[in-house]
């Protein structure tokens, strides 16, 4: 089927098997291989992208369902000469090792900070109203959909806390 996707601010027309997931469309048909396939089951979070600013597992989203939405991938968050605050802090704090889960972690963290700012509570929150502290417990709980076998978790929390501070400073 012929579909049109708004990806990182540009409209892309692509002809796809209707069964094609957003993840496979990005990777195999649109040349955006920054988004990774770690499980294809919605279990690991490596394929996390933003759909109208909200984080989704691209492996559980059919490409045709993403028509009309703004899709943001790791390639759209920043580049080597213009890193996002999160990207810069992931680098500083060694928030990755092999790097395979990293695009998903960064996309997820990007949306997670928005959710925090919007006052969404989590299982780790002590009340439902907020504002919520950028504590280890809050961040770890909210990032638990993104697995990292190298286990950069401790560093990822540091990176997110510092990126949030950078964001506040701006």
């Amino acid at each position: 089927m012929q579909i049109s996707l708004d990806i990182n601010g540009s409209l892309r027309d692509v002809y796809l098997d209707p069964r094609t997931t957003l993840l496979d469309a990005l990777r195999s048909h649109l040349g955006l291989t920054g988004t990774k396939k770690g499980c294809d089951h919605g279990q690991c979070g490596a394929c996390t992208v933003l759909l109208d600013g909200r984080r989704v597992n691209a492996c559980l989203t059919l490409a045709c369902m993403a028509q009309g939405a703004k899709v943001t991938t790791i390639e759209g968050l920043g580049s080597s000469d213009a890193l996002s605050p999160l990207q810069a802090q992931f680098l500083n704090h060694d928030g990755f090792q092999c790097g395979f889960c990293t695009p998903g972690q960064i996309c997820s963290a990007t949306a997670m900070l928005e959710e925090l700012a919007a006052g969404w509570p989590s299982h780790a929150s002590t009340d439902l109203e907020g504002p919520f502290p950028l504590s280890h417990a809050e961040i770890a709980e909210r990032m638990s959909g993104n697995l990292c076998r190298c286990a950069a978790y401790s560093n990822i929390v540091d990176a997110i806390q510092n990126a949030a501070k950078d964001g506040d400073a701006k």
Partner: protein, 724 residues
């Protein structure tokens, strides 16, 4: 000329400490990190190619037998069932292709065919639809269902352990079970194969390219020179990508047959089935000590499993002979030949489960003897290697224990069930960390250009280990360059053959080869400067001899090339080499649900020279977190009827997630180990897992009084023993 070194003698010169650049060891960020955080790093499955076809593996649905018929399926390019296709992955460092011939089935889930189509969607649907008929046979799948092999060379005994147990003031005699465990690297195994004439290039997720190239050539029946492997980025390995696997061989065969590039990526469940599992173990520990806690007897018996004919068996007791002293000792190693998926190396084969269980047993002995667990360990550290009388290249266990106790606040530990916060019992646990150390032959080439830039080339891999960065730091330090002035090129068999990544030997082995290559260049620069190399200082792109100072880009007219070649030598046998450390954990156990939360963890490690404090720390975080998984959540469950892996995805096999892992502290002891050569650095990728789980399990006991000997310590097992 090649700068060759066989490490036959200790190197006490500490030459690297005399270099001037000051970049080695510094906690600099990963040099390839920019690519990883922007999505630009190209892992195996990211490769595109004109005319790519997609292959999907088909797996056996019987436990053992013979394939009698492969059906047909419409709309595909090919269904491939070739006798060269693998039945199991190659073991690490094998130089031959592993068992091939998918007409025979050895375990449920084995690869039996490859379906290739124009698109991934069609290939996946066709692979599901393909009918395969079998002549099945009944086979044992449970370790206790067979009489195990008892290989003579894997048994040993000194003194009289039975008498030591009988005469002991205090003793432990218990049995532990650890389940099969998975490496579960985040990147599924993937390969893209493309032929040009009689030569094939395969881009794949592999840890050890030199060995894999030999395995691949043998598997395909071609010469090594006809195989080029590319693995510039590998999304984690932990042992699961040491050797070639079904997807890469199948992609190569399909690509040859179809005359176009073929990509084969394993699904996550296929990774669980086809990558080597860490064998389940049954371990009996017998420990005997006198009234002062001095060990008189150590017995460690292990039952592991693997497929018939597989040469690997989990070396559970590897560190037991040399970690602690005891006059009476016994090692027993049994292998059950059963038809579960193939067992092989997973991060720290041997010590990961062996040290963990041993350290749990030691905690029980400390409790029985009424001696502090740290003190008990300190009383049993040998001066020389027990049994052989060899010296240790270094032995930092005592220091790691004392340093850790101080840093962790061990003195605040109280008796079991004595600290309750709300509904949570709080407890602390300790364990020693130990892992054998080795070097593997490795080569590298370094080129210093007339512009004063260095290029490092070796077929070493960076699987998240920080190899790009540390090899750059070694070259920068030795040649007096800014780190940004060094290009490190890895993961291509066109480059000189390296050790590969595995067994914690990668950094020291490939790092030494880079150091040697740079040393050759230093000799050449010294010649140009008219001085001895010992009097040469290289710093910030300048060369200095006495009062002569020249810029490198002024004196170098043509590229200077150095070739480094490291081989392990006599120090492999003249001393016992190991890395050491201590693990500390504080846990909370819920008094009503039995749930365990790890509240904080500390690891203190000694691994010789630390090449980069940032990436080294991350290696330890990773290992320690594997320990949390081993202690609390990770188990590959096999169906007792047919052996098939039940927990074969990431929702069923629970690796630790963010919320399972607290802030973790890592502290390195300052050390230079001369017996591993001029780099004086040892391995670190595995030390962090060795014993980490025991610190957690011992902390659970200290919290709530429950000993879980059947890992992992899930809430059901704890609550069953909890006293209300």
């Amino acid at each position: 000329m090649t700068q060759h070194l066989k490490v036959d003698a200790p190197d006490h010169e500490s030459r690297l400490d005399q270099m001037a650049q000051g970049v080695l060891g510094e906690p600099v960020s990963r040099s390839e990190g920019q690519h990883k955080i922007t999505g630009g790093a190209t892992y195996a499955a990211d490769a595109g190619a004109e005319g790519m076809a997609y292959g999907v593996l088909v797996q056996a649905s019987v436990s053992a037998g013979r394939v009698t018929e492969i059906g047909e399926v419409p709309g595909v390019l090919a269904v491939i069932h070739d006798p060269r296709m693998l039945r199991r992955a190659a073991q690490g460092m094998s130089t031959e292709g592993p068992d091939a011939g998918p007409q025979q089935v050895d375990f449920m889930g084995q690869s039996v065919a490859l379906v290739v189509a124009e698109s991934l969607e069609v290939a996946q649907a066709a692979a599901h639809a393909l009918q395969v008929r079998y002549e099945a046979r009944q086979v044992p799948v449970m370790p206790d269902a067979v009489d195990p092999e008892v290989p003579e060379d894997k048994q040993s005994a000194t003194g009289d352990l039975d008498a030591a147990m009988r005469d002991a003031a205090f003793r432990v005699d218990q049995v532990w079970h650890t389940p099969s465990q998975a490496a579960a690297a985040m990147e599924p195994h993937a390969a893209v194969a493309q032929w040009a004439g009689d030569c094939v290039t395969i881009r794949a997720g592999l840890q050890m390219l030199g060995f894999c190239r030999e395995q691949m050539a043998d598997a395909l029946g071609i010469d090594v020179g006809q195989v080029r492997l590319l693995a510039p980025y590998v999304g984690g390995g932990f042992g699961s990508k040491l050797g070639i696997n079904a997807e890469a061989v199948a992609a190569a065969i399909a690509s040859r047959q179809l005359g176009r590039p073929v990509k084969v990526v394993m699904s996550r469940p296929q990774v669980f089935d086809l990558a080597h599992r860490r064998s389940e173990t049954t371990q009996r520990l017998r420990l005997a000590c006198d009234s002062n806690g001095v060990l008189s007897g150590v017995g460690h018996e292990a039952l592991v499993s693997n497929l018939p004919g597989s040469e690997f068996s989990e070396p559970v007791t590897q560190a037991t002979p040399f970690t602690y002293d005891a006059a009476n000792r016994q090692i027993v190693h049994k292998i059950a030949r059963i038809h579960r998926s193939c067992a092989g190396s997973v991060r720290a084969p041997g010590e990961a489960v062996g040290v963990t269980v041993f350290e749990c047993a030691l905690d029980e002995l400390a409790e029985a003897a009424g001696i502090d667990p740290v003190e008990l360990r300190l009383r049993n550290i040998p001066e020389m290697e027990p049994g052989t009388g060899r010296p240790f290249s270094s032995h930092k266990l005592a220091e790691a224990l004392r340093e850790g106790a101080e840093r962790f606040g061990w003195a605040d530990r109280v008796a079991p069930r004595a600290r309750l916060e709300g509904e949570w019992y709080i407890g602390m646990g300790v364990a020693s960390a130990v892992r054998v150390n080795s070097l593997v032959e490795s080569r590298a080439r370094v080129t210093l250009t007339p512009q004063g830039r260095a290029i490092v080339e070796t077929d070493m891999t960076d699987i998240g280990t920080g190899t790009y960065t540390i090899l750059g730091q070694i070259a920068a330090e030795t040649l007096g360059l800014d780190l940004a002035g060094v290009d490190v090129k890895l993961g291509d068999t066109d480059f000189p053959r390296a050790s590969g990544s595995g067994g914690s030997f990668g950094a020291a082995s490939s790092g030494t080869s880079v150091y040697l290559a740079c040393a050759e260049i230093r000799d050449k620069i010294a010649d140009m400067m008219g001085c001895a190399e010992a009097g040469l200082t290289l710093q910030d792109g300048t060369a200095r001899c006495g009062n002569i100072v020249r810029r490198l880009d002024d004196i170098i007219r043509t590229p200077l090339v150095g070739d480094g070649h490291l081989e392990p030598g006599k120090t492999e046998d003249s001393v016992r080499q190991a890395t050491w450390g201590s693990h500390w954990a504080e846990v909370a156990v819920n008094r009503w649900t039995g749930e365990t939360r790890v509240r904080r963890m500390l690891g203190v490690f000694a691994c010789g020279r630390v090449l980069n404090h940032k990436t080294a720390r991350s290696q330890c975080l990773g290992g320690m977190t594997f320990g949390i998984g081993m202690a609390l959540t990770e188990a590959m469950e096999h169906d007792p009827r047919d052996g098939h892996m039940v927990t074969r995805d990431l929702a069923e096999y629970h690796i630790p997630c963010h919320a399972d892992v607290p802030h973790i502290e890592v502290h390195f002891l300052t050390e230079r180990d001369a017996y591993v050569g001029p780099l004086q650095a040892k391995g670190l990728g595995e030390l962090g897992i060795c014993g980490a789980g025991a610190a957690v399990l011992n902390a659970i006991h200290n919290a709530c009084g429950v000993r879980v000997r059947n890992l992992p310590a899930t809430p059901d097992k704890i609550i069953a023993e909890l006293e209300i």
